[in-house]
């Protein structure tokens, strides 16, 4: 913790010195002290817009978590669908989101829906992959045992596969946090009336670069907070995933 703070201080010091003493205009790169004062001066504006973006990201990750886990389960249960869908999924991740963002705005308008769609689109893939890996790691012996206890296919899923998939889906969501933030900014660039992405979009042509950086600082802080929340959820919901190495080793 102290080491992290020290590194942060050194980086900020270097940045400050470069911005002040180097030959960079402050509308290209504002100094950290300028960003800090923008954070304070524009606090009402930033707070209002942070709430908008935070809601988009939080809900977007929830949508991605649900859709990703569901898709992973479908792919896991049907080898045919695995062959049909999985390559398409991987390919779909190569489509730059900027290309389809305007389309989503056309479809869903300027409200929260297109933002959720974009965030979910960029976030669900890691959830699918980690959930599928968790499902594939289920010991086949475990399923055999359940069959001798007269379990149906649904019961095998309910007692073994679904709980085994949960930690996978959660680590996928953790990976998705950072891309979710980028996705939200993209979505707001594509069309929005509020949000931190919208603040950045407007601040840059006005040469209020310090305000844009202040928005970025808030986005980064929110990503860290979200990651911590997901880690906490992991600890509460899947306490076995950390300690029980035996189960996943085989």
């Amino acid at each position: 913790m102290i080491a992290a703070l020290l590194i942060l201080l050194v980086l900020l010091g270097g940045w400050e010195a470069y911005a002040r003493l180097g030959h960079v205009d402050n509308f290209i790169l504002p100094a950290p002290t300028e960003v800090a004062s923008a954070l304070w001066d524009d606090r009402a504006l930033l707070w209002h817009n942070l709430l908008v973006t935070a809601q988009e990201i939080g809900l977007g990750i929830l949508v991605a978590l649900a859709a990703g886990a569901l898709l992973a389960i479908v792919i896991h249960l049907s080898p045919t669908l695995r062959r049909a869908i999985y390559p398409l999924l991987v390919g779909s991740q190569a489509v730059p989101i900027v290309i389809i963002a305007p389309l989503l705005v056309v479809w869903f308008g300027f409200g929260i829906a297109p933002k959720l769609a974009i965030i979910a689109l960029v976030c669900f893939f890691p959830v699918v992959v980690t959930t599928l890996d968790a499902l594939a790691a289920v010991d086949p012996e475990q399923l055999k045992l359940l069959r001798t206890l007269d379990a149906t296919r649904w019961q095998e899923f309910r007692w073994v596969e679904a709980p085994a998939a949960l930690p996978g889906a959660l680590s996928g969501a953790k990976i998705a946090v950072a891309i979710a933030v980028i996705g939200a900014v993209f979505a707001e660039y594509a069309g929005s009336s509020a949000g931190l992405g919208n603040v950045i979009l407007q601040a840059i042509p006005q040469l209020e670069t310090a305000r844009a950086y202040a928005a970025v600082v808030l986005l980064a802080a929110f990503a860290v907070l979200l990651f911590a929340l997901l880690t906490l959820a992991e600890r509460l919901l899947v306490p076995w995933a950390r300690r029980d190495t035996e189960w996943s080793r085989r």
Partner: protein
């Protein structure tokens, strides 16, 4: 997947019968890769287990003992021969307790699968847990239990399936030697109090001599019956009893060790 022709008639599950009957049963695992030759695991095994009998299947590692149990449990269908068995339940070598359930829920798993509500299932499993020395560990997660305790919970889960035939696949294979000897004596006592038919797979002839009514010695893969040793010794037996020691020697000789 190739369709396998069922040489055997449908498995009959005679109620109250409780026995296991294998006649010339053979099974080959299909090759892993396409075009690979099937691997014969069980070759013409005949075996008749009377209700409430404890039969130990002894053989070298990888000889097809586990396949034999999976056939009895109905997880696999024989390629040739006939197999009839009362409903059988498997207890695998690794406890395979579900890490998301506590000890009591793990023990009561079969009841839950049969639709018993959680509280009723826990109440039914509770006295058995206490009887098997697990009192106070009802709410412990598997990772909080020792290897021996986990194996006891796994055995309880097997018992609570209510099936007349228990297929125990090297139940103590994953334990250290000291715990193993302790668990062997524990299992002997536990089985004495049960009206079940038991098939015990092990590669430990001493375990077989202490626990079984009959020892069936199997050949290396594919499994065939090499020798059958009747055990007519009083219970409880100890590993150091002269009768047990003599039997151990006999079994080792039959194994060709």
């Amino acid at each position: 997947m190739t369709t396998r022709l069922e040489a055997a008639p449908p498995r009959t599950t005679a109620e109250g019968h409780g026995g296991v009957e294998l006649r010339d049963v053979s099974f080959a695992h299909p090759g892993r890769r396409r075009g690979a030759r099937p691997v014969t695991a069980v070759d013409g095994v005949s075996l008749s287990v009377a209700p409430r009998e404890i039969v130990a299947l002894v053989g070298p590692s990888g000889c097809g003992k586990t396949t034999l149990l999976e056939l009895v449990c109905g997880l696999l269908a024989p390629d040739a021969g006939t197999l009839t068995s009362a409903p059988a339940v498997l207890m695998p070598q690794h406890d395979l307790l579900l890490p998301w359930l506590d000890a009591l829920d793990n023990a009561a798993l079969a009841l839950r699968i049969h639709g018993v509500p959680r509280e009723a299932a826990r109440r039914a499993a509770q006295p058995l847990l206490a009887r098997f020395g697990l009192e106070g560990f009802e709410r412990a997660r598997p990772y909080e239990l020792s290897g021996g305790m986990r194996q006891r919970v796994a055995f309880l889960r097997t018992l609570l399936s209510g099936k007349p035939v228990l297929c125990l696949d090297e139940p103590f294979g994953a334990l250290d030697a000291l715990t193993r000897a302790e668990m062997r004596d524990w299992l002997g006592a536990a089985l004495a109090g049960e009206q079940r038919t038991t098939l015990l797979v092990t590669h430990d002839v001493e375990e077989a001599a202490v626990l079984a009514d009959r020892i069936v010695v199997l050949t290396p893969r594919p499994a065939r019956v090499a020798a059958v040793l009747e055990v007519v010794l009083p219970r409880p037996r100890r590993a150091t009893d002269p009768g047990v020691v003599a039997l151990r020697e006999q079994a080792l000789e039959a194994l060709g060790a």
